[in-house]
């Protein structure tokens, strides 16, 4: 019974997210204000449904549902959605929602293609640290994903301004300054959360396996990601790196995030491997 609800919930999440993206996209083309309101409402519904889906998986599995590929991606999408919905930049950054909803939809579609099976949790992972550690990490990814969306928009708008051909995006995208600020804010928040995620992970590792650091591939890649973002934040503070370079760095950083999340599991394995 529960698993049927669970199944239906995920499908409705997919459908609602698809509709939200579609309406956002129509709004992006037509720029009709009432469409934006509708799209946002649908996107909020998608966010609520995602939360319900995660809760339902929690109830069924009996632990935080973040231990399989499918669950991790859904969690990621959920954190992007709520990071977007709960902060003020959805007001100040024009048409941000279109880009974010597309990214969320892509993640959910990926989640739909992999196995949704439940797996028993390995004894080592049965701990309160699981939701804390994974929660911080995934929330960090949510903000970093927003920075990624902002960076894409920045590059598009900067291209319009530099090439002086005022095409489709010029009037539809916000000012460079607001995108750069968005990038800055999301990075700061994302970086702080990522740091917390790594620290909690290492504390948990000490408890579970006796050492703080394993050089497990996922840990290594998290550290690489962390250094990439740290370098960017450092350069912004010292040399005033901003604008295009910051945007490119955000995209590079986010690629590292994606690799940490998926690539590592496919290519490298290690203790963070999802249950197969």
């Amino acid at each position: 019974m529960l698993s049927e609800i669970n199944y239906l919930l995920f499908n409705s999440v997919l459908v609602v997210s698809f509709v939200a993206s579609a309406v956002y996209l129509v709004f992006f083309f037509s720029q009709r204000e009432e469409l934006r309101k509708i799209a946002r409402l649908i996107f909020v519904c998608s966010g609520v449904l995602q939360s319900l889906y995660i809760v339902s998986r929690y109830v069924i599995a009996g632990h935080t549902p973040i231990t399989s590929q499918h669950e991790a991606v859904v969690f990621f999408a959920w954190s992007v959605t709520w990071a977007y919905l709960s902060f003020h930049w959805r007001y100040s950054v024009k048409n941000f929602g279109t880009f974010v909803s597309m990214l969320v939809l892509i993640m959910l579609l990926i989640a739909a293609t992999v196995s949704r099976q439940f797996h028993p949790l390995a004894p080592a992972l049965q701990s309160l640290w699981l939701p804390v550690h994974a929660g911080f990490a995934v929330m960090a990814y949510g903000f970093l994903a927003l920075a990624f969306c902002g960076a894409i928009m920045y590059l598009l708008q900067e291209h319009e301004l530099k090439s002086k051909k005022f095409g489709f995006f010029f009037s539809r995208l916000p000012s460079l300054d607001s995108l750069d600020q968005l990038n800055n804010h999301c990075l700061t928040a994302g970086f702080a959360l990522l740091t917390l995620g790594i620290i909690t992970g290492s504390v948990w590792a000490r408890q579970a396996w006796g050492t703080y650091w394993h050089w497990d591939p996922k840990e290594t890649w998290s550290l690489i990601t962390w250094f990439l973002y740290a370098a960017q934040i450092h350069l912004r503070f010292t040399l005033g790196w901003r604008g295009k370079r910051a945007a490119v760095m955000s995209i590079v950083g986010f690629s590292a995030v994606i690799f940490t999340l998926w690539g590592v599991n496919f290519f490298l394995g290690g203790v963070h491997s999802y249950a197969q």
């Binding site: 708008q157 530099k162 002086k164 009037s171 300054d177 607001s178 005033g240 901003r242 604008g243 295009k244």
Partner: protein, 424 residues
């Protein structure tokens, strides 16, 4: 006698790229070029206009003298060969030339339709030409008419108020770069009218600080005072660039005054805060490759035009109304011009004489009692003879070939002296 022809040659922003216009723009003022223009054979009257967006020559020639080639040669000098300039140059005759001039004066041919600067530029150009006695009755009349057409268009249509100036376009862009102009600093290089206009708009949109850099400090001070700003010399330019966000450059300098290499090291001190350069000078003041620097955005006049295109539709309606006024006035002027030919003037003069004789006879004859029919005829004949004899010499003078090249002036004076204007 052949009638006068009006000829207008030029290039403008519509079919000539900035690089070419730059080469043609007169940087040394009007006097020399006007003198050079006077050397061309066959020109009765001539006038020259040079702005950032156009260079135009307006001449009147007697009869069918072919001066087109010489004028084009004068306009392009050594900058381009005939093959190259053929696609840029436009050449209008008579009605078309009149119509074009009116369109220009009314700011309907401007890059930014409805901007008011062009009228001032036209008047200034005319002042030079008339001071140098390059213009005569036809061009005097034509140019004065163009001023009044411009005024009529301005008062009867909304084109001026809806005019979106270059500065408007600049502000649209600034907002896309900076978000809000609140507390942004503006640097004006050159203290010209255009810079003033741009500064006004920027301050109106929240820009905080205005610094004016100019070759002559006095002019800079005057302009700075208007915005409660500061004035600096051109040698302090680089220092100022570290502080400001938006730069409007409009000097009359013949070459580039700020290079990419000058600005590049500044960006580090600025902590890469964006710089927005607006180059409204022709020839350009700023190195085009500035735009290649990160966080530096450079726009020249042609680029701004693209932004203006974005909100063109609103103004098109008013522009249609305005061009109707221009059509109407151009037609009227054409009639006046036709009247300048000698024959119609002679006819008009004779008609006027006959009319006076007839009117006076009609008043006098009823008062004379007892005149026989024959006597009446004699009186009528006498009146007619007086008119004819009185007009004989003036008419001979008008027809005389002696001062042929001044015929237009003669006719004009004639028409004024005998008050023939109203009759046509």
């Amino acid at each position: 006698m052949p009638s006068e022809n009006i000829l207008l040659l030029g290039v403008n922003h519509k079919n000539t790229p900035l690089e070419v216009r730059e080469k043609l723009a007169l940087t040394s003022g009007y006097e020399e070029p006007l003198q050079a223009l006077g050397q061309i054979d066959g020109l009765q009257e001539y006038y020259l206009l040079s702005t950032c967006n156009r260079v135009e020559i307006l001449v009147s020639v007697s009869g069918d003298v072919d001066v087109e080639k010489n004028l084009a040669g004068f306009l392009f000098g050594d900058a381009l060969t005939p093959d190259q300039y053929e696609k840029h140059l436009y050449c209008y005759r008579n009605e078309d030339a009149i119509h074009h001039l009116f369109m220009v004066a009314a700011s309907l041919d401007s890059m930014i339709v409805g901007e008011s600067q062009i009228l001032g530029q036209l008047k200034e150009a005319y002042r030079y030409s008339s001071e140098k006695k390059c213009t005569g009755p036809i061009l005097n009349k034509l140019l004065h008419k163009s001023f009044s057409v411009a005024k009529r268009v301005r008062s009867e249509t909304q084109i001026g108020s809806s005019a979106v100036s270059i500065s408007y376009a600049a502000i649209e862009l600034a907002k896309k770069i900076f978000g809000s102009l609140e507390s942004k600093r503006v640097l004006l290089i050159g203290a010209g009218e255009m810079a003033e206009l741009a500064a006004e708009h920027l301050v109106g949109n929240g820009a905080k600080d205005v610094v004016v850099a100019n070759r002559t400090l006095e002019n800079a001070l005057d302009l700075a005072k208007r915005f409660n700003g500061r004035a600096v010399g051109l040698d302090e330019l680089l220092e100022q660039l570290e502080q400001v966000d938006i730069i409007v450059s409009s000097t009359g300098a013949p070459g580039v005054i700020l290079y990419k290499e000058d600005v590049k090291p500044l960006m580090r001190n600025r902590r890469n805060k964006p710089l927005f350069f607006i180059d409204i000078a022709v020839p350009r003041d700023l190195d085009p490759s500035l735009n290649d620097l990160d966080n530096v955005y450079l726009y020249d006049i042609d680029d701004l035009n693209n932004v203006v295109e974005l909100n063109k539709a609103e103004r098109d309606k008013e522009a249609i109304k305005a061009s109707r006024i221009v059509d109407e006035e151009a037609l009227k002027f054409k009639d006046w011009l036709a009247g300048l030919a000698v024959t119609p003037t002679l006819v008009a003069l004779r008609e006027k004489g006959n009319l006076i004789a007839k009117m006076e006879l009609a008043r006098t004859l009823p008062k004379l009692n007892g005149l026989s029919l024959k006597e009446q005829k004699s009186v009528e004949k006498m009146a007619g003879a007086i008119v004819s004899k009185l007009l004989h010499d003036p008419m001979l003078f008008l027809k005389s070939e002696s001062c042929k090249d001044q015929s237009a002036m003669k006719v004009d004076v004639f028409r004024s002296v005998f008050d023939l204007e109203k009759k046509q």
